[in-house]
Symmetry: C2
Subunit: 85 residues, 2 copies
């Protein structure tokens, strides 16, 4: 059975991951990456991968889910930035 | 003694929290909040507070530190948005 705090964690995962989506959709639609900082997204991506490793170590499903998805989304933005600069 | 994975977690905490700072500095300096989405920051703030609760439950220092600081920074951006809209 999933306990109360796992639900809190999953809710947190959904909300913070979802808050990243508008940027992804906007960049995908417009291909405009002029406002994106490559340095910031590369740093952010590295940070998220470290959170993912830490989440795997803690065996935390919310952390693994949220950071795996956010890592992929930020990698997508980095690729878009490199392709359309 | 702090183990290897706690260091990974603390590094993750530093990097993702730091990647939030340029927005905070820019908003503080320019007071220009026209490009900020209030809905998104309020949702993000709620998500971060839930991560903080989850991190306290897991007794994870990196999660508590990162999310406490990020919650304060995003609350600051929300207050700036409400003050300067």
């Amino acid at each position: 059975m999933i306990d109360f705090f796992e639900i809190i964690g999953l809710l947190a995962a959904c909300i913070t991951t979802a808050s990243f989506l508008p940027q992804v959709f906007k960049t995908y639609k417009t291909k405009d990456t002029s406002g994106l900082s490559l340095t910031m997204y590369v740093a952010f991506f590295i940070g998220i991968v470290l959170w993912l490793i830490y989440g795997i170590h803690l065996n935390s499903l919310p952390m693994i889910l949220a950071n795996a998805i956010t890592a992929m989304l930020s990698l997508f933005l980095i690729i878009m930035k490199l392709k359309h600069k």
